[in-house]
Symmetry: C2
Subunit: 220 residues, 2 copies
């Protein structure tokens, strides 16, 4: 094989893979599937697009081998094909956050509005948990918690938060986490907690970031 032909093959393959990622809905799908597997309908609902359209995007991702499927009854469950797919999304996300005033401003504005502008890092979380002076809340839907969560975290899905605030210890601050830096559950939870007089921060990143650092996690 000639040099040029070789290069063309390799870079075209990789550009194809990149193209499959290059769409806002498909990036959202990657972010969702990083939490837990999902059916076509669940994804369509989350993205607020038609089922046919969600299916089309999923076909694109499957064609690029970024996601894989498992059939069960007449449901098709989609999942990420590889942990490395998440790492690509993470590196894109981190580049975006660092370089684009647009994104950083958008994030900051949103959080100020929710009073959750003080966010903490995974390292800070580890340190505070070690000192046993915080409560950690996972506010994602229960299915995602079951698919994997930070060891000491309690599952309190957003829709149950208000009724369970009373049961939280008043003397310990709370750290809330959810899907990732673009997930708003944690911001809304911090807002609610602060209104009830409980000190609360959000974790900057989400559970998949914890997992991708090879930190221990629990399932079920």
């Amino acid at each position: 094989m000639e040099k040029k032909e070789f290069k063309e093959k390799v870079y075209s393959e990789l550009a194809g893979l990149t193209k499959a990622l290059a769409n806002p809905y498909r990036l959202q799908i990657i972010d969702l599937l990083a939490q837990s597997s999902r059916t076509v309908e669940e994804i369509a609902t989350q993205l607020d697009v038609s089922i046919a359209n969600a299916s089309q995007h999923l076909q694109t991702l499957k064609g690029a081998q970024l996601v894989s499927i498992q059939k069960e009854g007449h449901y098709v469950h989609y999942r990420l094909a590889d942990e490395k797919v998440y790492l690509v999304w993470k590196s894109l996300r981190d580049l975006g956050i660092e370089r684009f005033a647009q994104i950083e401003r958008t994030l900051k504005d949103f959080r100020e509005q929710k009073n959750s502008f003080q966010s903490i890092s995974i390292d800070e979380l580890i340190e505070k948990v070690r000192q046993e002076n915080v409560v950690v809340l996972d506010v994602r839907p229960e299915k995602e918690y079951r698919a994997g969560h930070i060891p000491q975290a309690l599952s309190v899905p957003m829709e149950h938060l208000s009724e369970r605030i009373a049961a939280l210890p008043k003397d310990k601050p709370v750290i809330v986490y959810c899907r990732g830096p673009f997930c708003v559950f944690a911001d809304e939870a911090v807002e609610q907690l602060q209104k009830q007089g409980i000190k609360a921060w959000r974790l900057e990143e989400g559970f998949p970031d914890w997992k991708s650092r090879n930190l221990p996690f629990h399932m079920a």
Copy 2:
């Protein structure tokens, strides 16, 4: 700002960034600029495309803030805007190599043909250098060597390799590196060295990968 509007903004920005990368020529440009800055003409020559076309691709990358420019005389020098841009490319590349039989096969075929199928990792290189029983060759163009290279490496650009083989110690094996896993210089160098009876391997990755691991490097 509403939740939905917020999500749309953020994911659209990131999809835009991804789209700017999603083209075989533009990925090649990223790979080249990771070695050293370049003018439009140099890039056009390397990619074997027209200057206007190269300029157009560079405009796309610049629009997405993936590269930045520095004007000098009537030359425009392009460089990567951020180390994180390389990390995105690296993660895409690693996903591609791991997941696509296509790419792996293409790489393997090419290397078998060049007798350089035995490649070594950066960790193995470090260990061998520590034991002082190898010679390390950087076979990239001199400009790229000057912009940054592995500390103990000698600069032997491909076009001077044949004339400088005689001066190499016959008793030490040689490790050759170049731009990265898709760069064929190292494969061709290994082929030439083996023909002269010198034991030689290629480094699996390239100099930018060494740098991105925050290992020490020399300049000029």
